[in-house]
């Protein structure tokens, strides 16, 4: 184990860029530095060739046509472009009026979906935020109940970034197609990890990011369906008209080349990788539950991506737990790890309870996670939780048989 740096189990935040990806990127920073928009010389052609290769690789990963891939700076930009771009294009009333159209999303979506929706509300659109059930899975029925005659867009993420739960995306897509509503999915935690086919899965708009799938940071893509139906978007960034006018700006050639390579690697390795990560995840969950009483895996037990687990350890506060395992890089839903002093809104939306939200850890694995690291993590977490429970007044009360939820706490 590397003594100087912690072992890394925060791959849902970002991944290491695969060395095979870096290798592909480097020439485009040094010798082949052309602008893909320069149509009249070899430097430009070289760059364009790299971009088109990457477009093919990205399209192949999701079963799309290369013409349907728009390169962006990452999933945040892709989500913004998809949601605002579709809302503005399909608005039912002009700017400055209300009743411009209805959008459906969910409370435990990423902020890069929620905040564009909030902005659209200020601009005269109506937004319904679905309340997820305790297992975190948004079903097609939940969406169906909220559809109105003026619904123009549904945005439901494929897999949740904090708990890894998988929503009923193909069925929701089918529903939207039947009702002629545009369907967007934030695929950041899904694409590259799980088999994706935009035709089979009925997707109109799909966002994803390079750096969550062993590619570079600062590059992502938005899939925009071209037929049945042809989806049109109003651009956010105007300028040179690159990316079919949907996203102007000189392309990030080295980043895009790396993104393409990352897509290709994921396509080839996702199955064996997924099986390996699922074993790790199951081992983490079962062995921690065996070693430590009152642990809870958050989110649906089976409908989850293999690389993420989110576990609450009762009576122990998350930030102090992170301190106890400081040689493991991971994250917590505890208030103290965020600037807001609010515990994870994702866990809260599931009704996990603030106390268990404060007590949660998210562990997310990668291509490079080893058996030994999993062993070490189980041992470290167990040791830290037991250390903290020795000083936990809540654990004492639990042992005395007191129902903590019934106590009148002196809040301040």
């Amino acid at each position: 184990m590397n003594k100087t740096r912690p072992l890394y189990l925060d791959n849902a935040a970002t991944t290491r860029c695969d060395p095979r990806v870096v290798e592909v990127m480097l020439p485009y920073l040094t010798e082949a530095y052309g602008n893909s928009g320069s149509r009249n010389h070899a430097f430009g052609w070289e760059a364009e060739e790299a971009v088109e290769k990457a477009r093919d690789q990205a399209a192949a990963l999701i079963g799309a046509n290369a013409k349907e891939i728009i390169f962006t700076s990452g999933a945040t930009e892709s989500n913004n472009l998809a949601i605002k771009g579709a809302a503005h294009m399909y608005a039912k009333a002009p700017e400055g009026q209300t009743g411009r159209g209805h959008i459906i999303t969910a409370l435990h979506e990423h902020k890069a979906v929620l905040d564009p929706c909030k902005r659209l509300q200020k601009e005269g659109f109506d937004v319904t935020y679905l309340q997820p059930p305790a297992d975190g899975v948004i079903t097609v029925d939940m969406v169906a109940k909220e559809i109105r005659p003026d619904t123009i867009l549904v945005s439901i993420m494929w897999a949740n970034n904090e708990i890894g739960t998988i929503n009923e995306v193909p069925a929701i897509g089918k529903l939207c197609h039947d009702k002629e509503i545009i369907f967007h999915s934030d695929g950041t935690q899904w694409v590259g990890k799980m088999p994706t086919d935009v035709e089979r899965d009925n997707i109109d708009l799909l966002s994803w990011s390079g750096h969550k799938m062993y590619g570079p940071k600062g590059v992502g893509a938005l899939y925009v369906r071209r037929r049945k139906p042809r989806v049109r978007l109003e651009a956010i960034v105007d300028g040179g008209g690159q990316e079919r006018g949907m996203r102007s700006g000189t392309l990030n050639i080295s980043g895009i080349a790396g993104f393409g390579k990352a897509c290709e690697l994921c396509q080839h390795e996702m199955q064996s990788e997924g099986e390996r990560l699922l074993k790790f995840r199951n081992r983490l969950e079962t062995e921690l539950a065996k070693a430590i009483e009152v642990t809870q895996v958050n989110g649906n037990a089976s409908k989850r991506v293999p690389n993420i687990t989110n576990i609450s350890f009762g009576f122990v506060e998350g930030e102090s737990l992170l301190m106890g395992i400081k040689d493991i890089a991971c994250s917590s839903g505890s208030a103290c790890t965020s600037a807001s002093l609010e515990p994870s809104y994702v866990l809260k939306s599931l009704g996990v309870g603030d106390e268990l939200a404060h007590s949660s850890l998210r562990l997310s694995m990668s291509r490079w996670t080893t058996d030994k690291e999993i062993d070490y993590t189980i041992a470290s977490i167990t040791k830290a939780v037991l250390h903290l429970r020795k000083m936990s007044p809540l654990y004492d009360l639990y042992k005395e048989g007191v129902d903590i939820s019934k106590i009148q706490w002196q809040t301040h």
Partner: protein, 144 residues
Amino acid sequence: MAYSDKVIEHYQNPHNVGSFGSSKEVQARKDIGVGIVGAPECGDVMQLHIQVSDAGVIQDAKFKCFGCGSAIASSSLATEWIKGKTVDQALAIKNTEIVEELSLPPVKIHCSVLAEDSIRAAIEDWKKKNGHATAVDTHAAHAR
């Protein structure tokens, strides 16, 4: 967030962790004052037990804490500081002194406030049990 060395030291080797018995046992003992402040949903609960002589000297103190490293360090430090002090001397401890000693960043000041509150609550409890006059409002007495 980077912690000060003192916070890390208290976290790893907290002083005076424990209690003088179960919640029922300490309730029945007149020489023990109990202070429990905070709430699980806020991510901080501090429990302070003090053992006080008839003369009003805090002879021993034990804490338990559900909270971040700074909360653990604040309560650990509080037990160190109040041991051997009279209840009046202990009431004079200000949260700002804890902030200074542990180099707590602004976002962690509430941890020190909680530690001060737990001292006040424990002394209050001891006074009540022993028929001493208690402050009408402990919170009005100190500035946040």
